[in-house]
Symmetry: C2
Subunit: 226 residues, 2 copies
DNA sequence: CCTGACGCGATACGGTGTATCGGAGGAATA
DNA sequence: TATTCCTCCGATACACCGTATCGCGTCAGG
């Protein structure tokens, strides 16, 4: 052991003063790269060259960090378009795209009320663009579209992960539906299901999302301008 | 320490021979009582008077246990009714009720493809009841309804938990919308949002769910029988 | 120069999911 | 019956988690 310890490498600049924002960005980078289960306070701290406990000066709890991550992504969503239908479609599509950019969002979306600044700004943008719609019905309409999007993207990402895990691409999956399901269908227990899967049209994820969204928008149309 | 150890309490009957089903039931009991985060393999095992490692003879992983829990609840859902609209409405309502009986389901639903026997049986029941509907469109229709339900109940349970956490009842929550939001609205950053929240009709969870569902069913009607 | 407060981060604690492996118990064989 | 083998159970262990605690180094004030 040395008698005098080198006091500090004096030239390493104090990179940046650590902040909520830097913490959240680091967490999102980890989640984008390796999924949500790769986000631990220890790993986030390590990515910032800092002890784990340092983070508690900026966030109260891990759940708060997750909320901040979600809100950060909500900052990427800004619906646009003319007329209520375009606005709602844009809201749905841009939200879906955000989830595809950040798969881990599928695990968190809808799981907690989103009251962060970016989520509120998104809501403000939507409602402002929907200014012409009856104030008593606009909230249920937006809520319904959000609900549909949340459920649809969750299923979509879940399916995507399952395909990735089995190593099958979409085509194989839909044709064979997995050896397990083939076997199950072969038992004849689920005739209606088997018929639909084998004879029904097979749609890709984009089409499925759009069709369901169109159902919903068509139904909304009847109440808004019908 | 005794010279002879009591070999075993001979009268305690070997209660039941441990099975997937008993494990899943125990896990569901824990989750119903204390939430999903109370479900750990150690606690489930303890509830069954068994060492944690015993469980691995029946399940491969904790995720598999969670899948089995979800599938077990799917066994409670059996839509009924005459005509496609009644069937779909019943599908949505009974699924929602199942989530309200098992709040933890909101955390899991839609998170993985459900291919268990009960989920398939639910699908079979729905499709069989929808026998009259065009085979090319029935799948997107059911998928859309499921997506809406998943997103809607997630938001619903999330909001319910937030209210419970703040100790506010629904009325207070909607009127004050929390001191934080009041303060935020007071800044004038979100005029459209503030207007809608303050002037729009306030609906309870049942109404909100039903209205969104009606939007969707109305939109489906146009494609099915319109 | 001394003292005090303060804030950082090392350490610690109780928990998690699950891999490993020694040993007990029963079955099969001599 | 005695002995060997095999199987399967569960104690132990490992790596990791979120976070409470608290000693120490550092700096401000007297």
């Amino acid at each position: 052991m040395l008698v005098w310890e080198r006091p500090e490498p004096p030239d390493r600049p104090v990179l940046a003063p650590l902040s909520r924002e830097r913490i959240v960005r680091a967490a999102i980078r980890l989640a984008d790269a390796d999924g949500l289960e790769a986000v631990s306070l220890r790993k986030v701290a390590a990515a910032l060259d800092v002890g784990p406990m340092r983070l508690y000066g900026y966030i109260a709890t891990k759940d708060e960090l997750l909320d901040l991550m979600v809100d950060a992504v909500y900052g990427e969503i800004r619906p646009a378009g003319d007329g209520w239908r375009e606005v709602l479609r844009s809201l749905a599509e841009t939200t879906r795209q955000a989830v595809h950019r950040h798969e881990w969002l599928a695990d968190l979306i809808g799981g907690r009320p989103q009251l962060g600044p970016n989520a509120l700004a998104r809501g403000e943008a939507v409602l402002a663009a929907l200014g012409g719609v009856d104030v008593d019905i606009v909230m249920p309409v937006v809520t319904a579209v959000d609900a549909y999007v949340i459920g649809a993207v969750r299923r979509e990402i879940a399916e995507q992960r399952a395909e990735r895990a089995t190593g099958m691409d979409k085509q194989q999956w839909q044709v064979t539906f997995g050896p397990y399901l083939e076997r199950t269908f072969a038992t004849g227990q689920f005739p209606a299901l088997a018929t639909v899967v084998r004879e029904g049209a097979h749609l890709d994820a984009d089409e499925t999302f759009r069709i369901g969204l169109d159902f919903l928008l068509d139904g909304i149309e009847a109440r808004i301008s019908g």
